[in-house]
């Protein structure tokens, strides 16, 4: 055996470990920012503004915190490899329930403190109901390595189907409850809704 043998064996060992993998991200929802928009004027409703119920839309912007996780670096993994051009984002804090709480009396059915979510029509690209929205929020997503938000749910809108009894000042709190017993919330501005 000559001195080249260890080098060759080393190269062989390195060669056997080369493979491809995704870049793994773990993510949790950092915030949900809710804004009130007027569908007729296509403007964001300002505090004390009046909006017709038919044109009322609530828009929710979701943001996540992502962390790249570590990879094992020996045989059976891709530490030595050139990664596949794909990112995988896994949500580690699953959303369990979504509530839209009326902070003022809305109508005879929904008093202050009630959850009005069952009366909402959700508009997102996946499914138009609360369960579908939750499923979309929790699912593992993949994206191009240069734009890993390509398939992630970042924003959705919804409309409240129930009408208020009268033109009243309204304010809502949006609460995302998680399976871990935590929640992330946001509240709208105070604005007037006309029936």
């Amino acid at each position: 055996m000559n001195a080249k043998t260890p080098v060759l064996v080393c190269l062989l060992l390195l060669g056997t470990t080369v493979a491809c993998n995704d870049k793994d991200y773990k993510a949790y929802y950092k915030s949900a920012e809710i804004t009130v928009t007027d569908l007729f004027s296509q403007q964001v409703v300002q505090p004390k503004d009046t909006v017709s119920h038919n044109n009322l839309q609530l828009r929710v912007q979701l943001t996540k915190e992502r962390h790249l996780v570590t990879n094992n670096m020996w045989a059976g993994n891709a530490a030595y490899a050139t990664s596949r051009d794909r990112n995988r984002v896994t949500i580690i804090e699953k959303v369990k329930n979504i509530k839209l709480i009326t902070l003022n009396d809305y109508n005879s059915n929904f008093k202050a403190g009630d959850d009005i979510m069952d009366s909402c029509y959700i508009n997102n690209v996946y499914r138009n109901d609360e369960r579908g929205l939750i499923s979309s929020m929790n699912e593992q997503t993949y994206g191009d390595v240069y734009d890993y938000e390509i398939s992630e749910l970042g924003m959705f809108e919804f409309k409240i189907e129930a009408r208020p009894d009268a033109a009243t000042i309204q304010r809502f709190a949006l609460v995302f409850e998680t399976e871990a017993g935590s929640a992330f919330t946001d509240t709208t501005i105070s604005f007037i809704v006309k029936p």
Binding site: A3, P6, L13, Y28, T70, N72, W74, Y80, S182
Partner: protein, 285 residues
């Protein structure tokens, strides 16, 4: 199986180099094989702390300095090596050790110091992990004969390739706590990633990465040329000092605190500098 592969690889390297050395041994000096036992004391106190890439006391909050602490650790090594001494008393050392080292980290979270003023919530958690690594040393030095040739004081310095052969990562964990007893909800208070051994460092987005730490290695040893206890086999005892070069961190534990309203807080890291002082005994074979 992985460990065995690496050990076999090292044995092959030893054999090849030994053969090369023995061909010229008569003319150029002497060659000695040793088996070795060693214990290392690892200084981990300075391996933890808030990350420098986070602003201190950002957002008007105090920063908890002792959120993540590491205990000093004691490791052990067994290995084989060869020493090639020239007629000018210069020598080369090549040795490989298998190293065992158990780390222990303490997470001591205080909500009041991490964005929840007035909260009495605290959380303590300990992370333990045992590292198995292969160390390949290559060093050169000078052997100074003393005591009329019965002994020699060796000084050597070189590089140590520290190759972890096992490792583990928790792949990221969100930790919750009841920071407000009057709230029906818990708060997300920390994101923790523990990774050690042959793991790619957190945040390393490059696909390729070689799991080797290059450590600087210093050795002072005394060689008994004719010890009474081992029937004329040489005996070496001495000290090894090792430290990692800047930027080579494989044992990483990251804790990112999360303040009220899920605002990202400070980041704390355990980055193993591999600063260690070892005592070894080696017997010629």
């Amino acid at each position: 199986m992985k460990v065995l592969s690496v050990i076999i690889l090292c044995c092959l390297a030893h054999t090849a180099l030994a053969q090369d050395a023995m061909r010229g041994a008569v003319k150029k000096g002497s060659l000695h094989w040793y088996v070795k036992l060693a214990g290392d004391y690892h200084f981990n106190e300075n391996d933890t702390g808030p990350s420098v890439d986070n602003e201190p006391e950002s957002g008007g909050f105090r920063r908890q300095e002792d959120l993540l602490t590491a205990k000093d650790a004691i490791g052990s090594r067994i290995g084989i090596g060869l020493q090639r001494i020239t007629r000018y008393r210069m020598f080369f050392l090549l040795r490989s050790d298998v190293k065992f080292l158990r780390h222990s980290l303490l997470l001591n979270y205080k909500a009041a110091e991490n964005g929840y003023p007035g909260s009495s919530y605290t959380l303590q958690e300990r992370y333990n992990f045992t590292e198995y690594a292969l160390n390949l040393h290559l060093a050169m030095g000078y052997s100074l004969l003393v005591a009329h040739g019965k002994g020699a004081v060796d000084f050597a310095m070189g590089a140590n390739l520290h190759i972890p052969v096992v490792g583990e990562s928790n792949k990221g964990e969100l930790i919750h706590g009841q920071t407000n007893n009057n709230s029906p909800y818990q708060d997300a208070i920390m994101y923790v990633q523990t990774g050690w051994g042959d793991q790619k460092p957190h945040g390393n987005t490059d696909g390729a990465y070689i799991p080797i730490n290059v450590l600087a290695d210093f050795q002072v040893a005394y060689t008994f040329n004719q010890p009474a206890v081992f029937s004329d086999r040489k005996l070496r005892i001495g000290l090894d000092l090792g430290v990692a070069g800047e930027g080579n961190y494989l044992n990483t534990v990251e804790v990112t605190t999360i303040r009220a309203n899920r605002e990202t807080g400070n980041k704390y890291k355990f980055k193993d500098l591999h600063l260690s002082l070892g005592f070894f005994v080696a017997v010629e074979i």
